[in-house]
């Protein structure tokens, strides 16, 4: 069944994603950490879909679609910011900091 170990692995991967978002300053790496968190959630959905029915696998389908759309738009925004500041480091992206 592997439900318990899957949930544990999912928790560990999600935590690694959160720590990555907190410690890195590169906007692209931040996006990759968000993808890691989405993958961890997908693993939870798939682990539970063994027990609770195939609706969970359909949800994973939707999460993947949203992640693909998010990556495309997010990377376009990073591209536009890079053109403006010549950097993807968050410490240089402080126009709204007041």
């Amino acid at each position: 069944m592997l439900l318990g170990p899957s949930l544990l692995l999912s928790a560990v991967l999600f935590t690694i994603g959160v720590v990555g978002v907190l410690v890195r300053r590169n906007a692209i790496v931040l996006f990759m950490c968000v993808e890691l968190m989405l993958n961890a959630v997908n693993l939870t959905f798939i682990a539970f879909s063994q027990v609770l029915g195939l609706g969970g696998q359909v949800m994973v389908f939707f999460v993947m679609t949203v992640a693909a759309a998010e990556a495309a738009v997010g990377l376009a925004i990073i591209l536009a910011i890079f053109r403006h500041t010549r950097s993807v480091d968050l410490k240089n992206i402080n126009l709204l900091q007041g």
Binding site: R24, M32, L36, V51, L54, Q57, A69
Partner: protein, 186 residues
């Protein structure tokens, strides 16, 4: 080798790759370690009886999305830059947040239908969770009856048809938005 041994090997590989992904200084190496994590997760999906989603994981995530990331990294030429990992105070705070979150998620994963039922005074049901959830039993039988893809296609196009159509609008909006944002001038 039993499925458990394979699962734990792949899980260890996924966790180590994820840790390397967030600690590598080179952004490109970071992206490639993330691809490695996604491949391990795809293999784990096969172990969890989700073969179609494993294929989609490799095609969409490890393929399309990560190629987009690598493309942008190479386009911006930010691969070899100074370290962007924050200083010691932030690292300590991040570690504390991470440990707290991990403990919370671990406690949450201990909650089972049986323990919830025990909490409200109903005797915890014995036996497999598949007995408690008829949909789960139907879901477990579906791949044998309809094939792996058919078992997902049926709920997707029957119960989730409207969300599926809305997803196509979302993708169209994302494609148009990405072009508009990345273009120099319209």
């Amino acid at each position: 080798m039993s499925a458990e041994v394979v699962f734990y090997l792949l899980a260890a590989f996924a966790v180590v790759s994820a840790l390397l992904c967030i600690t590598q200084r080179n952004v490109l190496a970071s992206a490639l370690w993330l691809v490695s994590t996604m491949f391990s997760l795809a293999a784990i999906y096969v172990l969890l009886q989700a073969q179609f989603l494993a294929a989609i994981q490799v095609l969409v995530y490890a393929g399309a999305v990560m190629v987009l990331f690598v493309f942008v990294i190479m386009l911006l030429n930010v691969g070899r830059s100074a370290s962007d990992i924050r200083g010691l105070p932030v690292r300590v705070i991040a570690l504390l947040v991470g440990v707290g979150l991990l403990v919370q998620l671990f406690l949450l994963s201990r909650v089972t239908p049986g323990s919830l039922a025990g909490g409200v005074g109903i005797p915890a049901g014995a036996g497999s969770p598949l007995d408690a959830f008829p949909a789960g039993q139907a879901g477990a039988d579906a791949p044998a009856l309809q094939g792996v893809v058919g078992a997902i296609a049926e709920p997707l196009f029957r119960d989730y048809l409207v969300p599926f159509e809305i997803t196509s609008i979302l993708l169209l909006a994302a494609a148009v938005g990405a072009v508009v944002l990345a273009k120099r001038r319209l």
